[in-house]
C-alpha cells in the first residue's frame, strides 16, 4: 500500500494507472482492498493517495512561500512533486519535510533552470527559518564562562538555531516582500483554497545579484534576519567550525580592528548567539 501511496499522482491528481513495477494499479488495489457498492478498490486506494500527496504538498507550500513566488505556481508544483517522490518523509514530524530540498534543487537543475542557483539560495534561506523557529537553544555564554581561558585556547559555540548564510542574492529582502504580498492578499480575501493550492499571485520582482551575508535567528522567540559584514560573518563561521577565538579573529581578515571584534562580540552576546561548545 505504501508503494502505491508514494507513487506520484497523475496530472489530474489521480492515482497512477500502473504501479512502479508495471502492473495495472486496479489489479494491485483489488489484491488487498475490498470494493464496495459505490467504490472500486482502485478508487478507495486513490482516496488515500490523494490525501497523502495533498497533505505533503500543502506542507511544502506553507514552508516555502519565497521559492513558490520565485518559480511560479506551475514550476513550483512540479518541483515539489518531484522532490517528494525522490525524498518521501523520513521524520515523524512534517517540520523536517524540506530539509533536503536545497540539496535536491542543486542535484536536479532542470526543474528550476535558469534560476537554479537563486532557487537553491531561497530554499536554504527558508529552511534556515524553520531551524530558527524551533531549533535547540543552549545556555548563553556569560562573561564568567570566558574567564580563565586564554583566547588562544578559547572556543565558543553558536546557538544551534542560528544559521549563517552567504548568498549571491539579497534573499532576505525578497522573502520579506513575498510574505508581505501574501499577507496583503490574505487580509483582502476570504477565498478558500482547495486541494493543492492554485492561486493567481502578483509576482514579486526577482532580486538582482548581490552578495550578502545573513544570520537567520530568533530573539524572544521571534524570527529575525540580520545582515552581517563579511568579516563578522567569517569570524562567526570560524567559531562555528570549532576554531579558537584567536583563530576566528584571524579568519575575519587583516583589516579587522580590535574595537570591531569587541563590538561584534558584545552584540552577539546580547542577541544570545554565543554559547558553550558541547
Amino acid at each position: 500500500m505504501t508503494h502505491a501511496l508514494v507513487q506520484p499522482l497523475t496530472a489530474a491528481n489521480g492515482l497512477a494507472a500502473h504501479s512502479a513495477d508495471g502492473r495495472p494499479m486496479a489489479d494491485v488495489a483489488a489484491s488487498f482492498i475490498k470494493a464496495n457498492d459505490r467504490l472500486t478498490a482502485f478508487e478507495r486506494l486513490e482516496i488515500y493517495a490523494r490525501s497523502y500527496w495533498f497533505r505533503l504538498i500543502d506542507c511544502v507550500y506553507d514552508d516555502c512561500p519565497g521559492l513558490r513566488g520565485l518559480l511560479g505556481e506551475r514550476r513550483f508544483d512540479a518541483l515539489v512533486r518531484a522532490y517528494l517522490a525522490r525524498h518521501p518523509s523520513r521524520s515523524f514530524t512534517l517540520r523536517n519535510l524540506c530539509d533536503r530540498l536545497p540539496e535536491f534543487i542543486r542535484a536536479t537543475p532542470r526543474l528550476t533552470a535558469p534560476r537554479t542557483a537563486l532557487a537553491h539560495a531561497v530554499a536554504r534561506f527558508e529552511w534556515a527559518q524553520t531551524v530558527a523557529f524551533d531549533g535547540e537553544a543552549r545556555p548563553v555564554l556569560t562573561p564568567g564562562d570566558l574567564a580563565g581561558t586564554p583566547p588562544t585556547r578559547l572556543r565558543v559555540g553558536l546557538q544551534p538555531y542560528l544559521s549563517l548564510l552567504e548568498l549571491n542574492w539579497p534573499v532576505d529582502d525578497y522573502v520579506i516582500a513575498v510574505k508581505q504580498r501574501d499577507a496583503l492578499r490574505s487580509a483582502a480575501s476570504n477565498a478558500v483554497d482547495h486541494g493543492p493550492r492554485a492561486v493567481v499571485r502578483k509576482r514579486v520582482a526577482v532580486p538582482r545579484r548581490r552578495r550578502v551575508q545573513v544570520a537567520v535567528h530568533r530573539l524572544n522567540n521571534r524570527l529575525y534576519y540580520k545582515r552581517l559584514d563579511r568579516p563578522a560573518f567569517l569570524m562567526l563561521a570560524a567559531l562555528r567550525s570549532g576554531r579558537t577565538l584567536v583563530q576566528a579573529v584571524a579568519a575575519a581578515g587583516p583589516r579587522v580592528r580590535p574595537e570591531d571584534v569587541r563590538t561584534w562580540c558584545a552584540t552577539w552576546m546580547e542577541l544570545g548567539w554565543l554559547c558553550r561548545r558541547e
Binding site: M1, T2, L5, V6, S31, F32, I33, K34, N36, D37, R38, L39, A41, E43, R44, L45, I47, Y48, S51, Y52, R55, L56, P88, S89, R90, S91, F92, T93, L94, R95, A132, F133, D134, G135, E136, A137, P160, Y161, V192, R218, N221, R222
Partner: protein, 290 residues
C-alpha cells in the same frame, strides 16, 4: 466512566484542541476552558515559540497530549529516541493520559503522515497490543487508543473493526479514545451500523471521546474536521455517553478554523447530551434495583 485508570482517574469535561490561530486569543483573554488537547508532535521540538506558548498554557490550563505519529499498528519497532523525546514532553505537560491512533503509517522509516487503517487480524491485534504495552511502560502514563476513520477495508480482515479494537485494548489493557465522528464516517463508508460499534466495545475502557465535523461527497464521507459536528454524530455521541458514561470529550476542528469562541461554543453543545446521559444514569440504576 468519568474517571478510570485509563484517563488517570480524572474527571475532565469538555475540551478543545489547542491550535495556532487561537494562541493570541487564549493567552490574552484567558477564556474558561476545561482542558486543551495538544498534538504532541507540534511540541516535540527543541526550543522556540511552540514551547514558550505551551508553558504559558500550562500555567493556566489542564492539557492532554494526543499523538499522530506513534503508529501502534506499524510493523516498525518503537523508536527509543522518539519515545524519549515524547517522555520529556509528558513530564512537561503532566498529561494524565496520552492518546494516539489505532493505525499504521510508517514503513522502514518512511512516514506517510496519514492514519492508515489496519487489517483486522488476530496477529495484527497481538503485535499492536504488545507495542502499546511497551510504549505505556516506557512513558509511564496511561494510554488510550483512538479508532480512525477509514475509506478502505482489507480482504485479509478476520473480524469487524470494533472486534479488533476490543481485542487490542483487552490484550494491551489500555483505554479507548472513542472518536464518535470516526465511527460514523467509517460506518457510512463501509455500510455497518455505528450503534453496533458503540455497543460492541468494552465501555469501561473508554477514557475520552472525540467529536468532529466531516464532509459528504457523492460516494463517500471524508473526515475533514472543518465543519461543525453534524446531527447524526451528536446523536451517536449521546448514545455513546449513555453507554460509556460521561467522559472527557474533545471537539476536533483542524481546518478552516473559525474564531476561538465559535469552536468553543460548538464543543459546549456536548453539554446537552452529557446532561441527558447523567439524567439517564440514576434512572437506569433504579430500574435495575427493581
Amino acid at each position: 466512566m468519568p474517571a478510570n485508570s485509563f484517563n488517570g482517574q480524572t474527571d475532565y469535561g469538555i475540551g478543545i484542541g489547542l491550535r495556532v490561530p487561537h494562541y493570541q486569543h487564549i493567552l490574552a483573554k484567558k477564556p474558561v476552558v476545561d482542558w486543551f488537547e495538544i498534538i504532541s508532535e507540534n511540541f516535540m521540538v527543541d526550543g522556540g515559540r511552540p514551547l514558550e506558548v505551551l508553558d504559558q498554557i500550562l500555567e493556566q490550563y489542564r492539557v492532554v497530549q494526543h499523538g499522530v505519529s506513534m503508529y501502534f499498528g506499524s510493523a516498525d519497532r518503537p523508536d527509543r529516541a522518539h519515545l524519549q523525546k515524547l517522555k520529556r514532553l509528558v513530564r512537561r505537560t503532566k498529561t494524565p493520559w496520552l492518546s494516539d491512533h489505532l493505525c499504521w503509517g510508517s514503513v522502514d522509516g518512511t512516514f506517510t503522515h496519514d492514519l492508515l487503517p489496519m487489517p483486522y487480524t488476530l496477529a495484527a491485534a497481538k503485535r499492536t497490543a504488545e507495542k502499546i504495552r511497551y510504549v505505556r511502560d516506557f512513558l509511564e502514563v496511561p494510554i488510550c487508543v483512538e479508532n480512525v476513520s477509514s475509506y478502505a477495508e482489507f480482504h485479509v480482515s478476520e473480524m469487524t473493526e470494533w472486534e479488533f479494537l476490543s481485542e487490542v485494548v483487552e490484550r494491551a489493557d489500555c483505554g479507548v479514545l472513542l472518536d464518535v465522528n470516526n465511527i460514523y464516517v467509517s460506518a457510512q463508508n463501509h455500510g455497518f451500523d455505528p450503534y453496533a460499534y458503540v455497543n460492541g466495545i468494552p465501555s469501561h475502557r473508554v477514557g475520552q471521546m472525540h467529536v468532529a465535523g466531516h464532509t459528504k461527497f457523492e460516494k463517500y464521507i471524508l473526515d475533514t474536521h472543518d465543519h461543525p459536528v453534524l446531527d447524526p454524530v451528536w446523536k451517536l455521541y449521546a448514545h455513546a455517553t449513555q453507554r460509556c458514561g460521561v467522559t472527557a470529550t474533545l471537539l476536533e476542528w483542524d481546518d478552516k478554523i473559525p474564531s476561538f469562541d465559535e469552536v468553543h461554543d460548538e464543543a459546549l453543545k456536548a453539554n446537552q447530551f452529557i446532561g441527558d446521559a447523567r439524567a439517564a444514569q440514576p434512572a437506569k440504576k433504579s430500574v435495575s434495583r427493581k
